[in-house]
């Protein structure tokens, strides 16, 4: 994996090593934070880190407490449509405060206020990570906190010909399809980037729609260890 070329935007705040001397079993947890800009209006974003408690009320707690995210709405995809979860502008509670927003899940965020930056805090997912991408439309993000090309860096190596990734430009979805005939990813106009072999570039903290057309679900596998 070309990790040296990746833009690893996670600011590693701490590297915690815990050990159990008796059994000589070690675990290394890497925790940090990622700043994700949240523009006015709709954006398609994601939580890049495992906060343990990945509920909407937790991962946006600071932004709500500070007022920046009061009145916002998070929209999650059901497979056929988006379901809203609104932060109440009067009492600042979420309609569904336990809605889980784990790494790997993309979601729409409607920001009715001024642009702000949300700081996601948590652990970097490591090891053999996996996710099922169903047939039809689904919304995802990188399983690991990296900006990278979908196929080569982020590990989605088994996209089927005809599968399409849609990126959000603030008003519409911009498609990037894997060609049915030559199996290359189609180019994207600036400011997006899509390599014919590596696929579209997915910025850290960004979600994307995926349209699976292969006739069945596919597995997204990514082995990742912080060196």
């Amino acid at each position: 994996m070309k990790t040296k070329t990746l833009f690893f935007a996670v600011a590693l705040a701490a590297s915690v090593v815990t050990s159990r001397a008796q059994s000589n079993v070690y675990s290394q947890n890497v925790v940090g934070y990622v700043n994700v800009p949240v523009p006015v209006g709709y954006s398609l974003i994601a939580n890049p880190l495992n906060a343990g408690n990945n509920s909407v009320s937790n991962v946006f707690k600071a932004a709500v407490d500070g007022g920046a995210a009061v009145g916002s709405t998070v929209y999650t995809w059901t497979g056929t449509s988006l379901v809203p979860n609104q932060n109440d502008q009067f009492d600042t509670t979420w309609q569904n405060p336990t809605l889980s927003l784990p790494p790997g899940l993309g979601f729409f965020f409607y920001n009715p206020n001024a642009r702000f930056t949300n700081t996601f805090v948590g652990e970097v997912n490591q090891g053999a990570l996996s996710k099922i991408i169903p047939l039809g439309y689904s919304v995802h993000s990188s399983l690991i906190p990296l900006t990278g090309y979908l196929q080569t860096d982020l590990g989605l190596t088994n996209a089927a010909p005809g599968d399409t990734v849609y990126l959000w430009n603030g008003a519409n979805l911009v498609p990037c399809a894997k060609d049915l005939f030559d199996f290359t990813w189609q180019p994207l106009p600036p400011p997006y980037s899509c390599d014919p072999v590596q696929g579209p570039l997915i910025p850290i903290g960004t979600g994307f729609f995926y349209q699976g057309q292969s006739g069945s679900s596919i597995s997204w596998l990514r082995n990742f260890t912080v060196q």
């Binding site: 009061v70 056929t80 449509s81 379901v83 809203p84 109440d88 849609y166």
Partner: protein
């Protein structure tokens, strides 16, 4: 395949019978729309009021360009019901969502509003197409009046918005195109209930009028 494009703006008239379009329903969309509903005006109980409330009447209404000074109080609590009716045309509306109102410590927001936003599938309307909808509200008489039909039969206080058209619905359309985000239900404006007198009161008044007519008739003979 390289010439794929997003069908977000497709309008597929004629395919509505297979539709699964979705509308976000609510009375509050922070920053763009806060539209409360009022009880009848005690000074003019049989006359419904319509229009965006004046912010002098209710602080926090959006858009803040309203001029209507509602005489009735903001609807509050579980004693009032709000129902969304929607369909593919103004003639095919059906009830899709029922709820009650929020409360406040006084006659101010968030009274007059409902909690949260709910995504609703509008039957018979494909994603990308527009739906028709209407809000209907009534005094549910301590929970005993549970449907619009019942409202009309028992003469409960009630009111409704104009029938309005939504933006293109969200979801996946008949051709497989995805439409996001869902449109918000921001096409209507505030309204008030009208008061319907108790049937017994109406009967007494009628009886009184009848008596007066009879008495008048006797005098003239």
């Amino acid at each position: 395949m390289k010439k794929l494009f997003v069908v977000a703006a497709l309008s597929l008239t004629g395919l509505s019978a297979f539709g699964q379009g979705v509308l976000n329903f609510g009375t509050t969309f922070t920053g763009s729309f806060v539209m409360p509903i009022f009880n009848y005006d005690p000074a003019n109980p049989f006359q419904p009021q319509f229009g965006i409330p004046s912010t002098a009447r209710v602080t926090g209404v959006i858009p803040n360009i309203g001029t209507v000074n509602y005489g009735g109080a903001l609807l509050q609590g579980t004693g009032f019901t709000l129902q969304l009716w929607a369909g593919s045309s103004a003639a095919t509306l059906q009830p899709l969502y029922t709820t009650t109102f929020r409360t406040a410590t006084a006659d101010k927001l968030p009274a007059g509003l409902i909690s949260g936003v709910t995504s609703l599938v509008i039957p018979g309307v494909d994603a990308g197409q527009q739906a028709w909808y209407q809000l209907r509200a009534w005094n549910n008489e301590d929970g005993t009046v549970t449907s619009w039909n019942q409202v009309l039969n028992v003469f409960a206080d009630h009111g409704s918005s104009a029938i309005v058209q939504s933006g293109p619905l969200g979801g996946i359309d008949f051709t497989g195109g995805v439409h996001v985000p869902n449109p918000n239900s921001t096409d209507w404006v505030s309204f008030s209930l009208i008061h319907i007198p108790e049937p017994t009161s109406v009967a007494l008044v009628g009886l009184g009028v009848a008596m007066l007519i009879i008495r008048q008739g006797k005098r003239s003979h």
